[in-house]
């Protein structure tokens, strides 16, 4: 069972935000889903066997890419050819 404070913590970790009014219903629905997930306890074994797939590698070569102005076109805020982001520190 996840408590309201755990659900709030998850919302913060996931950066999706949660409002006071929706916390009750979110927690209730979250727990109903987690309870359903408990059926996975019946699966034996802790790690999946290696599959027969293999990695696809390629040379790390410079190739033509999109022009700068096209890359910046969808950004909300730009400055001197860079994308402007909120401050981290």
């Amino acid at each position: 069972m996840a408590t309201e404070s755990e659900v709030t913590h998850i919302a913060e970790l996931a950066d999706v935000g949660i409002d006071r009014e929706e916390l009750g219903i979110f927690t209730h629905q979250f727990n109903a889903i987690l309870e359903y997930f408990d059926v996975l306890d019946r699966v034996s074994g802790d790690t999946a066997a290696m599959s027969d797939l293999c990695n696809v590698m390629r040379e790390d070569e410079v190739e033509p890419s999109l022009p700068q102005e096209e890359v910046l076109r969808n950004a909300a805020a730009t400055e001197d050819g860079f994308i402007k982001a909120p401050r981290v520190m």
């Binding site: 889903i33 390629r58 994308i83 909120p86 401050r87």
Partner: protein, 433 residues
């Protein structure tokens, strides 16, 4: 109107489209001049692509998805972008930020999802064919609910380059149309190797549908006809399989024991992948702006809280939880073992039969607003998600009606045998429609 464009006008009474291209250019080729609708999570250069989310409102991709390049090269005219559940998260198309799509067979019901706009555009006669995407049934469910044909190809057969990712390890782009031949023709255009998708496989599709299924062995899993499946739907599908027997096929009873936990495994895996994939939507490179004067997390949470729908936030949170330390072993690791078990169950059955058949969906299309509880919506995906976990091909073809609403026959095949599921669906269609 020029020689090389078609004029696309629609009243869009079913809210199938998010964007329409009134003048759609086209070239010569196999699909010359045929209007094709494209689901709105597939990138189209110069045409707004929103994934039915407010967080991508106004986003104009600077490049085409691989499948869109192939469509343009085939001469097809891209006439619009279709409505969907936001980022593909839903089974009804009610989770669109831009309003639900209505089912052309009964406008009081949902078209299914998440490719509901593509299905409604085809079923409503607005386009002959459309592209959808299928992560846990999102092509087959709306095909079944709207009475059209939809193919979820073998994982790796169609490039995902330019598909806005929701759950990479599960999803494939696939064709939808009114007939099996149309679906096959569209598959021929979109399948093929693309180095920009590292899971792409070099298996072009050049098949012409063939209705001869004499000697075919069909597995009938008991889980597809048991509890939770509407008996009337099961009866219609059983009759349809009887028609295939009349064409020379034989049926074999079988069992997929891993279905006990397949749905839970699917939701753990898809939400985990979603929590990672959707981290890119931060209001910085595209979409509504994050307040760049605020601290990072505060700005980020504000823009995501305001612009993601409830179901998207729920799935991001579930995935974050399933991957968090202390819970990883209980959820994500177990789900991966469960996924391997599903794959092995299919491999065991396919050693003895050529295809597996059952209903696509456990019920007919829901009434609008009927599935308000998230868990009850998830449970309706039980018959479609095993295919995505195993990466195998599956098709839904209309096979009758219950209460006037279409029912889909689902045919599942061995990996890379998309041709065979097409043939079985074609044989049924030629015999019965």
């Amino acid at each position: 109107m020029g020689d090389n464009e078609i004029c696309f006008e629609t009243d869009d009474r079913y809210n199938a489209f998010l964007t329409t291209c009134k003048k759609a250019p086209h070239g010569p080729g196999a699909l010359a001049g045929i209007g094709v609708a494209v689901k709105d999570n597939i990138s189209t250069k110069g045409i707004e692509t929103t994934c039915a989310s407010k967080i991508l409102k106004g986003y104009i991709p600077p490049y085409d998805a691989h499948v869109v390049e192939l469509l343009r090269n085939s001469g097809a005219a891209i006439v619009g972008k279709t409505n969907m559940d936001e980022f593909g998260m839903g089974t009804t198309t009610e989770n669109s930020a831009f309003g639900p799509t209505l089912n052309p067979c009964d406008t009081g019901r949902v078209p299914g999802g998440s490719s509901g706009g593509s299905a409604a555009a085809v079923a409503g006669g607005m386009v002959r064919m459309a592209l959808g995407t299928d992560t846990g049934g999102s092509i087959r469910c709306p095909a079944a609910f709207c009475g059209i044909v939809g193919l979820k190809p073998t994982y790796g057969r169609v490039s995902r380059y330019g598909l806005v990712a929701y759950a990479n390890s599960l999803e494939q782009i696939g064709p939808m149309g009114r007939t099996v031949s149309d679906v096959s023709d569209l598959m021929q255009v979109i399948a093929g190797y693309d180095r920009r998708d590292s899971t792409s496989y070099d298996r072009p599709y050049t098949h012409i549908p063939c209705a001869d299924i004499n000697g075919l062995r069909i597995g009938i899993p008991r889980q597809y006809f048991g509890g939770g499946v509407d008996p009337e739907v099961a009866a219609v599908v059983t009759r349809a399989i009887g028609r295939l027997e009349g064409l020379g096929a034989t049926t074999v009873s079988c069992s997929i024991p891993s279905m006990e936990y397949a749905l839970a495994a699917y939701y753990v895996i898809c939400t985990s992948e979603a929590s990672s994939n959707l981290a890119r939507f931060d209001g910085v490179r595209y979409g509504p702006a994050a307040d760049s004067k605020k601290p990072w997390h505060e700005a980020y949470q504000e823009v995501r809280r305001a612009n993601f729908g409830t179901e998207v936030r729920r799935r991001i949170m579930l995935g974050t939880f399933a991957l968090s330390s202390g819970y990883y072993g209980k959820y994500y690791a177990k789900a991966q073992v469960a996924r391997m078990n599903v794959k092995q169950d299919f491999a065991r059955i396919f050693a003895d039969v050529d295809v597996i058949a059952g209903p696509t969906m456990p019920t007919i299309a829901f009434k609008l607003g009927e599935k308000s509880d998230p868990l009850s919506m998830y449970l309706s995906d039980i018959l479609t998600v095993p295919v995505n976990l195993a990466g195998i091909p599956a098709i839904s073809v209309p096979c009758g009606k219950v209460n006037g609403m279409p029912v889909g026959l689902q045919v599942m095949g061995r990996p890379w045998e998309d041709e065979r599921v097409i043939d079985v669906a074609f044989a049924y269609e030629q015999e019965c429609v």
